[in-house]
């Protein structure tokens, strides 16, 4: 009995040209329930998935001007799940009529040694926060409604306080570069959430 041959080559590389299309907005705590109710109706998953995540933002300072930023995120309510490492590039300055913010995105799932490994690579933690909220899906669209919490003592995720009286709403899609119809779909979906929340493309550079 011949055993099936095993894969010869290890799989190397991933996709370098994945882009994140993003629209953001916010709602006050009082309006949260109405928004969740509407999202439940519009989106695929009947019961929204809730999450509690701890995110740490790491910087690597080199000889170049701006430091390299990586975001390491892990779940506090599902501790066995792998850590998630994310690189986000600069927003693409392109077509002004494009409805969403577009930036290069590299997502890596990693083991629990990620924090120590990043420190060994030379990264230093810049800031951290806890995010608690809900996640919805509609096809390729992902809607995340969450509240940010400030960590009072470094490393202690039990002791947190809310950053504000509102919740951040993010509508995003991960797609290969060049698919501009994605932002049209996102705009159409965002229209259905008005007037509960206004989702816009917000250039992070303008906030600094």
């Amino acid at each position: 009995m011949e055993a099936p041959p095993v894969a010869v080559m290890p799989v190397t590389g991933g996709s370098i040209h994945m882009m994140e299309y993003l629209l953001q907005g916010s709602v006050l705590d009082q309006a949260l329930e109405s928004l969740l109710h509407r999202l439940r109706g519009l989106c695929d998953n009947m019961e929204p998935e809730s999450f509690v995540d701890h995110e740490m933002v790491f910087l690597l300072k080199g000889q170049q001007g701006s430091p390299f930023i990586l975001r390491a995120r892990h779940s506090l309510d599902r501790p066995v799940a792998p850590w998630h490492l994310r690189y986000l590039g600069q927003p693409e300055v392109g077509d002004k009529s494009r409805h969403a913010l577009v930036r290069n995105c590299v997502d890596v799932s990693a083991s629990h040694s990620l924090h120590d490994f990043l420190l060994e690579m030379g990264f230093r933690m810049d800031h951290e926060f806890v995010a608690k909220g809900h996640i919805f899906r509609k096809g390729a669209l992902k809607v995340v409604v969450f509240k940010l919490f400030r960590i009072l003592l470094p490393g202690n995720t039990e002791n947190t306080e809310p950053l504000s009286l509102s919740n951040l709403v993010e509508l995003s899609v991960l797609a290969p570069a060049g698919q501009d119809t994605v932002s049209d779909d996102m705009r159409n979906f965002a229209e259905q959430l008005k007037p509960l929340v206004h989702l816009d493309k917000i250039d992070p550079k303008r906030l600094m």
Binding site: G14, G62, Y87
Partner: protein
């Protein structure tokens, strides 16, 4: 054939890696080339009754942390490895440091980090060869190459049912004696360090890394002599 000149100085490393695995060193047979020794080992395994199940590949790339770190500090090397046994994983290690197991997108991230970590392409080490199954054992005999030139032989022996490394070392040794020439490896250094004793794929990669580092050092040592 220029390979025969290297035979007397190049040693073939046995990487014994088991589900519980381990790594060690075996000299190339007297008067034979790397390829001939590999064929000899493969024949011995087939005579034992092992069945060939395709091929395997383990590779290791070296990244040099040039732009970061304070001057005066020794340069840091980051090793990114892949193993065909875990095709959807990518392993990143520092020698005697933490090991990260990530998905293949980590390679893409290293491309983004190219101004901080330079890929020393000439240092890429690969081990390729046949994969044999014999009852509960998996044996992989590979030719280790640095920049397309064969530098040694790796033999990986895996005892699948066991995850506690220290419990099956004796069994592995006995099995190895049945097909390896005289020299049998000692207990890999990392087994002493493991507190919980549960073996994981990153231990395998750490052993391969130790092996590949030895081969690189030997190449550096003989390289100056060859000219």
């Amino acid at each position: 054939m220029c390979l025969t000149l290297c035979v007397c100085v190049c040693v073939c490393e046995i990487v014994i890696v088991f589900c519980a695995r381990s790594v060690s060193q075996v000299p190339v047979a007297e008067g034979k080339s790397v390829q001939q020794t590999v064929e000899m080992l493969n024949r011995k395994l087939e005579q034992l009754g092992a069945v060939k199940q395709g091929n395997f590949c383990v590779d290791c790339e070296t990244y040099h942390a040039g732009a970061i770190g304070s001057p005066g500090q020794p340069p840091k090397f980051l090793y990114v490895m892949h193993n065909s046994e875990a095709p959807l994983s990518c392993f990143a290690l520092f020698e005697n440091g933490p090991c990260l197991v990530a998905d293949p997108n980590f390679d893409v991230l290293m491309i983004k980090l190219k101004s901080y970590f330079q890929n020393a392409k000439s240092n890429k080490v690969e081990s390729r060869g046949a994969r044999y199954q014999y009852c509960d054992f998996l044996v992989k005999v590979g030719t280790a190459t640095i920049a397309s030139s064969a530098r040694g032989i790796t033999v990986e022996v895996e005892y699948c049912p066991c995850v506690t490394a220290n419990d099956c070392w004796n069994l592995l040794m006995e099995f190895m004696q049945s097909f390896l020439p005289s020299h049998i490896p000692g207990v890999p250094s990392m087994f002493g360090v493991k507190t919980d004793g549960v073996y994981s794929p990153s231990d395998t990669m750490a052993q391969y890394l130790e092996l590949f580092s030895k081969l690189r050092k030997q190449q550096a040592a003989t390289g100056s002599g060859m000219r």
